[in-house]
Symmetry: C2
Subunit: 408 residues, 2 copies
Amino acid sequence: MGWVIKRFIYSYLAASMLLAALPQATLFAAENAPARPDGLNIDPVGKGPFYYDTAEGTDIRVRVVARGLNHPWSITWLPDGSALVTEKDSGAIRRIVNDQLQEAPVLGTPQGAIVSRYKGLLDIATHPDFANEPYVYMSYNKSLGGDKEAIAVARGRWDGNNIQNTQDIFVGEEGTTNGVRLLFGADGMLYVGVYVTTDNPEPNFHTGIQKGKLLRLTPEGKVPTDNPFVGKEGFLPEIYSYGHRTPTGLTLNKTTGEIWETEMGPNGGDEVNRVERGGNYGWPLVSLGRAYSGGWQSERFQMEGTRDPIAFWMPGVSPSSLAFYDGDEFPRWKGDLFVSAMQAGQIPGTGSLQRIKFNEDGQEIRRESLLTDLRQRIRDVKMGPDGRLYLLTDEDDGLVLRIESAGD
Amino acid sequence: MGWVIKRFIYSYLAASMLLAALPQATLFAAENAPARPDGLNIDPVGKGPFYYDTAEGTDIRVRVVARGLNHPWSITWLPDGSALVTEKDSGAIRRIVNDQLQEAPVLGTPQGAIVSRYKGLLDIATHPDFANEPYVYMSYNKSLGGDKEAIAVARGRWDGNNIQNTQDIFVGEEGTTNGVRLLFGADGMLYVGVYVTTDNPEPNFHTGIQKGKLLRLTPEGKVPTDNPFVGKEGFLPEIYSYGHRTPTGLTLNKTTGEIWETEMGPNGGDEVNRVERGGNYGWPLVSLGRAYSGGWQSERFQMEGTRDPIAFWMPGVSPSSLAFYDGDEFPRWKGDLFVSAMQAGQIPGTGSLQRIKFNEDGQEIRRESLLTDLRQRIRDVKMGPDGRLYLLTDEDDGLVLRIESAGD
């Protein structure tokens, strides 16, 4: 069975560790996690490649492209084909060139951040008009001094080797926290997902605060004048959609131009949503999941005026990101949605890659759980410029995995 | 990777094969299944034992107690500690004595039956007062002549080696079909689950027919006078509860005396129900699943007057049976519910054993998927008299598996 690595259970409420600003590229330090009191022993992922026969007759090979990353959180590609990967816990941005992980991090990550189980350097994205506006965008959890914090988005200019002149373009309201996904929409605008921080159902959808919303900003971090709630009383003008709990993943459906979102329910009730302008997605009044203590989270599963999810999970799989497959490597997966997942049913060591197949009307036909045997928390899934699927594992020994066709 | 066995996808609507009555113990013949057009190659299960670290800190060893059974469907034990196992496709009842599968089937299975994907010799149970009433009960799909059929329950007297004088005690309405689970309740009555046969929502709950109902009968197959709907207009007197789709599994919660049931939704929406006397479980008007074609099965997820499930699955796992664990072998599993599952999300080769943990109020805290790597359709789960869990795999090379503690 090989040697065994111990895994850790962190408390959802673990005190976050506040770090002073440090020199670039060594900005962060990992939380001193408590030892796992009980549970699973999990073997490390071997060298691979790993072969699987999967449904739809697709045979795949999974390669370990890179390993030893410190809780990698997001991957994106530059026009030269190299990839940039964020490390949540160290705060570094790492670069992969021709399948080689560069030892030295890319310079230019934002200064000063909070690191804990759910915080650190998070998403990364490039400006949609990168040729003319070569900006790299990053999201992170920012200390506001003392125990105050907020989510933040920074950007810096890519000079071919590093990121220059990184500056915040958006800092959220005090108290916004945890994962922050970024997406440039088909309209060239920057979408920012903001988590809620409580699981107690509250009396309304709180449209006057940023928590639990998808925000729509210009690439400069300002509020566009054509946002759906501009000028509407009781709504922040930066809101694009509301009633979200945890927008853990955002992706663009290139065929339709729609934004799709993953959302983690509490104890089950994880969702995939097709986000419509001004839409209400129901949290905290509607959920298909249970509270962590066991009872149903909400009195009802549906509610007039709120949108049902496109797909949901019960038990939960802790979805973390999503991507449509529209490449040529896997013809039988065209149009399928892939969702990276961290764990199933509150149990560590049960991450997976979820594949969802739709009919012509965009309704779910079936789902497949892939890579369950690796027992990794899969944090990100993206289709690379080569038409293959890339995954990141949010682990102490974080991996970049690539799914390739293994022929028929 | 070893050699590869081909698996088969049968049509849900595959024409059933009608067999003339044959001599006992060779009553049945397997349907001539079409070759699988596409999909997964699945390795056969090796010799084992197989070791797993599971959640709650329970380390398990899975032994192959017997193999080569022809689609085993149900297992039960006699007071002498030997086990009886039904083979759906051959119609034989096999006996296991001291972990040895006896070559010769037990004589006494009912004569004349229909065998297809979902039909054959099905459940087996012993009379609750076996010392004084040594009857073995069996359910099966019975030809009524021509293309007419019905579910049936037979019983015969155990003489220490075989079953004598097997006779039908109950034959369902013409057209009742598919899986038939049996359970003796805490009240000594015989409960019989009856499937519906269409996925088109129909305008009412059809309380005048047996399909989609849990029936309550005396051990002699008669209607008890204290049934909930005796004398109520529009209700058959044998009905105990209604609004079921597919009662794939029935078990007794020995702590509470309650009957718990698994029910397969169409495309997701699989359920565990706590069956209450006279209760309405919502089918065909309420479902948490999708139709096979992709759209939601019902307009709503909940409905006044119908009972929500205790637990449900989305995507589906095709639950087939269930058992509470109340033995001593696995102290950390005490009170957990185990559900055998045939496949996940309409994809063959994805069976599992589902474990559900509850809080003190009987609400779900978390779930675990076990044995997914075996890729077997698990048809039955029961706790044996030794406090270990036994599983049957509904395969051409059907297995009896036993889950044992592997220490800490």
